[in-house]
Symmetry: C2
Subunit: 234 residues, 2 copies
Amino acid sequence: MSIELYDLATADPKLRFSPYCWRVKMALAHKALAWREIACHFTDKDRLPQSSAGTVPVLVDDGQVVGDSWHIAVYLDQRYPDKPLFACDQAKSTALLVKFWVERTVQPFITRMGVGDFMATLHEMDKAYFRQSREKRFGMTIEQYMSGREQAREGFGAALEPLRAMLAEQPFVAGKQPAYADYIVFGALQWMRCGSPFPALRQDDPVFDYRERMLDLFDGLGRRAHHREVLASS
Amino acid sequence: MSIELYDLATADPKLRFSPYCWRVKMALAHKALAWREIACHFTDKDRLPQSSAGTVPVLVDDGQVVGDSWHIAVYLDQRYPDKPLFACDQAKSTALLVKFWVERTVQPFITRMGVGDFMATLHEMDKAYFRQSREKRFGMTIEQYMSGREQAREGFGAALEPLRAMLAEQPFVAGKQPAYADYIVFGALQWMRCGSPFPALRQDDPVFDYRERMLDLFDGLGRRAHHREVLASS
């Protein structure tokens, strides 16, 4: 029985931008595991397995239901120890700080740059739910929130400075080869690339080269994804 | 022959706040190695070993001269493999992103909150050099730069959000036990604690509890240090 991955769907069956789902896809490919994707809309969560928490990604493996991208990564390393995502416990613990760095410091800028574009890609039935939940969180309309996107691009560039400095020393967060800490970072970059035409990264940024390396992995798994990015002439 | 560590000196022989030197002291204590500190003023760098780059910390071990706190940590793990600072190569690589996160995202707020206080602790002969070099970097006077310290405290609090979120899951960056990634973070917190009376951390912040745990390590090595912190009544 193959692995099933419940993934976030947009109106275009080929467009998938959830950063958390991208982490899991890269992790599965890292382990050379096959999987089948089940697209799931925001307002379509009744389709998720009963025991899940109601958010994607959800992995179903041989009857086991695992939610939350981090828990899925940990599960995969336990169930399939070959080609580990975490080379040792300390690497896993340290990757947890990387996870929260991405989620608390980097990704808020992506939301600010792209949230209206992300909404535009959704199925009509999802748009009202998406607008309402996000506007409640922001305390303003999506359009007001996005009006700060030029400033958010500056913040995004500054937030990536630690990664940029690190890339002068080694090609991946995990060292010479990529591993789960990289898939966390890549999930954020791929979210923006797939979900929005707003030019967030400059081509002369070392982070752009890093993303290119990540896009090439696993026979171009990330590169083959439908994307909406328009590159800025830098 | 014991290990010698060239450490940054202030006017008070007991006050040492260099974050990079603190990383190394914690690393040496982690390995249960003894060392002798040689205090060195900013304008006193002729005292450093010839082959060093002219900045502290410098470690001299059995004739080997090693500069730069990261290189010192890597050297210590090679030379003294017991009680590793990095449990595996991937943990080391991932800690390099933590290092640059601390240096590029967290520490600039510490500079902004404390630089005038740091200058005030220095030996008279260092003050002119310190002012000149910092004001050139900031493009303004130290007093102008510090006038944004209330705002920098907010930025500092926000920059620590990934650490705060991580601390809900595990007690140290390295997991159940502290290791070098923690000493990098601690170096920044100890720099502020020792160098400035400006209340940067709230006592109800999980980062404060984390720092308490770090201060208790190695028979209170960090806690015994002369400090200038005044706690805010929160």
